[in-house]
Symmetry: C2
Subunit: 204 residues, 2 copies
Amino acid sequence: MRTKDKILVTALQLLNEHGVKSVTIRDIAAEMGISHGNLGYHYANMELIIYALYEQLVKEMDAVIGSMQFSGIHLQLVYDSNKIMFTKFYEYRFLFIDFVAIGRSIPKLRKHYLSLQKKRAAEFFMLLMLLKSNNILSSKFSDEQYGQLIQSLTIFGDFWISSSELVYNGKKDKRVDYYLNLFFALILPYLTKEGQKQYGMLQK
Amino acid sequence: MRTKDKILVTALQLLNEHGVKSVTIRDIAAEMGISHGNLGYHYANMELIIYALYEQLVKEMDAVIGSMQFSGIHLQLVYDSNKIMFTKFYEYRFLFIDFVAIGRSIPKLRKHYLSLQKKRAAEFFMLLMLLKSNNILSSKFSDEQYGQLIQSLTIFGDFWISSSELVYNGKKDKRVDYYLNLFFALILPYLTKEGQKQYGMLQK
DNA sequence: GCAAATTTAGGACATTTGTCCTATTTATTA
DNA sequence: TAATAAATAGGACAAATGTCCTAAATTTGC
């Protein structure tokens, strides 16, 4: 692996473990066994590394979402795509754990995230509308209510990791599933009979 | 005001504005126009200041919640108590914005928060059960489902500020109301006819 | 195989920050 | 009022950190 890539791998590991505040250029160099001067040659400072990792996450998400086959609308689809997203998010958890601090110190990242979120919210809204017209989500709730639901789901999606970092004390390999389950519990009361049937048959 | 109290006031203002990462003992002293040596005499480091502010928040919350009159069970009660909590949280928003980083660097704070959260969740569960038995919340959802709802509401309650810090661009004085409204939208589908009626009549 | 470009190591330096220390001033109390 | 305690100012210092620089080593392209 090229040094430049290896730096990102090591940085990600250290950032996830110790948090943005505690990791320095020199820490990463030491962990890799290279000089801090060398590391500075590839990435002059932590912000560049963090932004590179953010770009990497976005890229990986696009790739994995893009490769999904949308064969007919079904609750399983929502489940699968969210499971992938939750898992990826957790791989890059330091970003979410220090979300605001990072957004504050790297305006470019914040700006990009905002437009990304807007796009994702619009896609998700389309998906919900589709589920609604296919009698999976109930029609008795207004589009505005579904819009609000999406906002809350977005907040949950962005911050379940932070919460779990402080609170979760279950098995490590069940963490994502646990919060994915909570996420779906938020959608549960909006389901029709048919939706509930599909929910019961979800392959988790 | 005593210097020791004034330090907390100034620290809170700076922390809310710039975040934990960017505020130092010396910054606070400079803002107050006193020497850093003097500030060190009262609080040796930032962690002591942050913990003191956390204690202050907990104390203020206890006081304000304790003074509420619980005259009969009603959705308005849930609304009012949450409005108070949301408002207080926002006054001390730096705590929530850097929740994980603070919890990591001040284990005592993390530990206290965990036991507090446990207590609050239990109280909230009792409240929901009461609303359920008073036909405000629907009986068609299981206690387990209400338990999950509380967990999601807790995550929302702890992190709406972080999200708003990055996303919200509405009027400043409507911020708390906006997220309180989203918070209640999460409860909406669990309401009975009677509950919905009370919801429509909420004095916001 | 050799010149040029890239990569690497490590030193130097300024800045920031927490921490400690002492001297002075202000407040308290007996 | 005198002595004691509390509060304040500001200097000193070490550790950490980003940043810059140079020289050596390695790789690349012709």
